[in-house]
Symmetry: C2
Subunit: 341 residues, 2 copies
């Protein structure tokens, strides 16, 4: 690869100046007394030689690598991860940085490897990301540098970016109310573990809080709450079937995520019910399947790209340690309508 690249010495020689001068000019140092002409010559020489500084040499001295480590439990390889990385990648590029990506897979040895790789390479900062919004434990070794939590919190008061799940819950509930749903709003995806253990999920409790609070403000309660051990399509299917066996059919179903909603669609389809005419469905996440379903699913979107972007911004430009809550906009599609009759 970069074998015969021009070095700073080459540039200096061509400009008829010292390395010092060349270095200062190229770094735009203030207060140096180099003549305008010297500036010209250095820029010209650098241009002509196609000079690009060697990052290793530079960071040896400056301890800056223009590299950010993106460490995730498992996020880098899931469908949800895409946007997170994309956003981070974009923001990093805008700031002339680059992303070093590692995955711990929840494995202590892997995490150890990641930390060492990061420390060895003296990255400028670490983004510690979680797949599911949750609390996690940051390895002390990286606390020496800048760390931003992405989609996560931790015991330490670190800067962090989180989706505003509670607000999303509010939005979802408001939408249903606005369409005239009141007493027959069901929910599927209740899950004690997710709701209680912040190490597993922060989203479940927050969404539920938002939903219930908003309904309560209008003197409404959820008519039925379906529990699911996982938030997978199968669980949504089963929960929805259970829902339909009850005497009073709901006018709307809130699903705690889009995979559950897929299951709900399947169960409703089998039961011969039409969405949204017979029953409305609304959900959270905005997984790609949301637009694949028929009808397209209305859902509060996890703003992954924005979150990734925000994390980099916080890392590089950030000063405040207030958690950064990113809004989850509702994607209004075709799965919500007024209750039948």
């Amino acid at each position: 690869m970069g074998s015969n690249r021009a070095t700073l010495a080459d540039v200096a020689k061509r400009a008829g100046l010292s390395k010092t001068a060349a270095s200062m000019v190229l770094n735009g140092r203030e207060g140096t007394r180099l003549s305008a002409e010297a500036h010209q010559r250095v820029f010209a020489a650098a241009e002509e030689l196609g000079y690009r500084p060697n990052v290793a040499a530079r960071s040896l001295r400056t301890r800056k690598t223009a590299t950010i480590a993106f460490v995730s439990d498992i996020v880098a390889t899931t469908r949800f991860a895409g946007g997170l990385i994309r956003g981070a990648l974009d923001a990093a590029r805008e700031r002339d940085h680059v992303l070093l990506i590692t995955e711990t897979q929840g494995d202590a040895a892997f995490e150890q490897y990641a930390i060492e790789a990061i420390l060895d390479r003296q990255v400028d900062g670490v983004i510690y990301a979680a797949m599911a919004t949750r609390r996690l434990t940051v390895p002390p070794a990286i606390l020496g540098g800048r760390v931003v939590l992405l989609n996560a919190t931790s015991a330490e008061q670190l800067p962090r970016v989180l989706p505003d799940d509670e607000r999303a819950g509010v939005t979802v509930a408001e939408t249903l109310l606005a369409h005239g749903h009141r007493d027959r709003i069901a929910l599927i995806g209740r899950n004690r573990e997710k709701e209680r253990d912040p190490e597993i999920s922060l989203a479940a409790a927050a969404r539920l809080r938002g939903i219930r609070g908003t309904l309560a403000d209008s003197d409404v309660q959820l008519s039925t709450e379906g529990f699911c051990t996982e938030w997978q399509p199968e669980n949504g299917y089963t929960a929805t079937r259970a829902l339909l066996r009850r005497p009073e059919r709901p006018s709307a179903i809130i699903c705690m995520n889009d995979r559950l909603a897929l299951g709900a669609y399947q169960a409703l389809g089998e039961a011969g019910l039409t969405i949204p005419d017979d029953i409305s469905v609304i959900s959270f996440d905005d997984d790609p399947i949301a637009t694949w379903l028929r009808p397209k699913l209305s859902t509060a979107a996890l703003p992954h790209e924005q979150m990734g972007r925000r994390a980099v911004e916080l890392l590089l430009d950030g000063d405040d340690h207030e958690p950064s809550y990113v809004p989850m906009p509702l994607r209004r599609r075709r799965s919500v309508a007024a209750p039948a009759s």
Copy 2:
């Protein structure tokens, strides 16, 4: 970050030896005449100080960074990308390497940025990946070093890893034949552009070739071929509805990917047909939705993890420039059965 780390000089001093000696011992250099005792002392000192070499300093001298660049058009942020990255990540870790991830998004300026970032950091090699299996143009600037193409080919004879789409086509066709399907096998997802332009897709033509060849060997032809401008669920839905309007209903539908299959499921469901009793469905990719559908979809899996892994292996240990074809195993699930009656 790593502020007060022990340096090689520290280790040497503690061991009562020179930096030279310490360096040689720690690098396991053969042919050095350092005593066994010297070895002990160096190892002990390094251990006690928790010594880890500074990668920047080392690579300044050796031009090795233990870093691989993973450049993709857009793959890093799509659902399909996960496995690719995961596999590469795992293989890289096993070889004590790390991944620098960038994305060109098909944008020339972004590509330029990626290249410069890569060259500046003197990565040991580049994995150039495409989201869809296709031919792409590798920027000449990176051809100076090791490059492996992932899910892609190029004009240059570069080492590359590709899914064995043709063989997958064979497998899919064989499966249908084995279940007794013959004259009423339909296909959806024909697409002239994808089939003809290798810069768009290599998979479409290869899959089709495999399917047709295998059927022909048994004197069978596809009964209907549905064209789709895109391989999205909607197109699958429309194509399937068209299929069902024809006089003779197919006994099986081959979908060129799982998203089309989702569309097919939706159309079949609406038509009141049961999979696989009334009609079998088989597909390609093994997208996560394949297991979310009811019944679960049989599909030839794109072995993303293996491909990513293989790319790193080829890059680091590889010698041969033969394209590496990775098999696409058929995930046998519930969507294929014998034809009705």
